[in-house]
Amino acid sequence: MTNRVMIEARGLVKRYGDFTAVKGIELEVQEGEIFGFLGPNGAGKSTTIKMLTTISRLTDGLARVAGHDVTRETDEVRSSLGIVFQDPTLDIGLTAWENLYLHGLLYGLASTEIRERADAVLAMMELQERRKDLVKTFSGGMKRRLEIARGLMHRPKVLFLDEPTVGLDPQTRARIWDYVKTLRDENGLTIFMTTHYMDEAEHCDRIAIMDQGEIIALDTPDNLKRSVGNDVITLQTANDAQAIAALAANFSITARSVQGGVQFDAEDGETFLPQLLARNLFHVTSLNLRKPTLDDVFMLLTGRTIREEDLGARDQMREAFRQRGNRR
């Protein structure tokens, strides 16, 4: 894989009147990378995506997608990216195939190529049998898959996914992730996605955490979690005082007595625990290893958590709307 930069942002700024939604973002995404964009609602994620995908004008700064300037080479940028928006943008009054066909025409594909691509993307998203059905009869997960299929019609180099799994059941979410990984592995696609599901961000190669218009952290999920601190191990023992003493004597670990037993930090819990147990210093009745999560990272950086309850009214309506759509 070449080390080509597929998305580049330099001092990206978006102002709406007095309000600065995006405050000079810098980022670089390599070809074939799955890049996650994380943050609470209103952090500026969608605004950034809008600028990178030419929907919204930059107030200041520079951005290039697939080597093209988003301001000056709008059509080239648009041809080289596929987008799946947060809100559904399919025409539900048309069939799956018609949605793909019109998309192909819109992106200037020849009709033989449209047929070929439509077959390929429908197969990839496992929707062949429903090709002639009206999209209104589709479930939420099928709609999302069709939307991804449509975004792939014109062979984009970069795929933007804005909250691709919101409002989907866990099984469908897992499936969407499988597709995304396949796309990267088999087609070398670069994927830029936003999410506020912390557990999903783990699938990304690198993550940028955004808050109040700024990127406050950018690294691999593992590095980010490591930056928070060590693993936390909690042991239940027959004799807590004895265990604390043994840990101090043998590993120079300062353990504390907590409600659930004995608790201490370890740099690498997975390798430390077998070592500890092998020594058989004291009797352990149960143990718990807790790795830092991206939630902890966000908590440390902002003093807040990203939680589903934080969804704004707009998002709640959107979710309700989606659920309603799913039932049909």
């Binding site: 995908t53 030419t54 929907i55 919204s56 709008t74 059509d75 080239e76 648009r78 041809s79 990216l81 987008i83 928006f85 809100d87 559904p88 943008t89 399919l90 025409d91 539900i92 009054g93 048309l94 018609e98 019109l102 998309h103 025409l105 819109l106 992106y107 200037g108 449509r150």
Partner: protein, 250 residues
Amino acid sequence: MSLRAVYVVWLRELIKFWREKARIVTSLVQPAVWLFVMGKGLSGFVHLHGPFSGSYTAFMLPGVMGMTVLFASIFSSVSIIWDRDFGFLKEMLVAPVPRSALVFGKILSGATVAMIQGTLVLIFSPFVGVQLSFTGVLEAMGTMFLLSLSLSGLGIAVATRMTSMQGFQLVMNFLLMPMYFLSGAIYPLQGLPTWMSAIARIDPLAYGVDALKWALIRFHQFSLSVDYAVLVGLAVVFTLIATSLFKMEG
């Protein structure tokens, strides 16, 4: 200008129009009510004076076709709000095509649908005493297409300024009914109070209805060259306004 993009937008609307055949049939209900409930009912005591010698319902037929074109054009331009609310507009806005192509496509599809619906009203002609000629029908279709270009342009121009469907409905109710009544569709524009004929003069529909009357019942009140000059002029002006307003959006 990307003709292909114009075609895509046009094709999408036409596929959906064709799919909703029930809508095509119900679009004939309103004209039928006007012709047979209003027209037949009024024809007993409406006596047309002057150059037109046919029945009152015959006089109404071109006007009712004009009304059909008016409503069809406006409703097709409403779909741009629908697309915005339900997201499909975004799919088109991120495509590598100029925004003006989207507006042209909408206007052309609106005009096509309106022309088809208006032409369908002609199935009532035997019942209202209008003899159709081949050239008359062609002239009428051309007129309806031209009329609808300007009305769809107007509709889109208004729609781009509206944030909700309700707002659009409100504006259109203030606009549509007066436009219809003052177009000469149901009474000739002669001997009206000055203020009424003044408004009729700025009613785009009046020129369309006048040209339709000439095509179908060989009766007109303005000169035909004025009719067509106004219709072409308005089609161009409203299309330009709609395009520039739409470009400003977002």
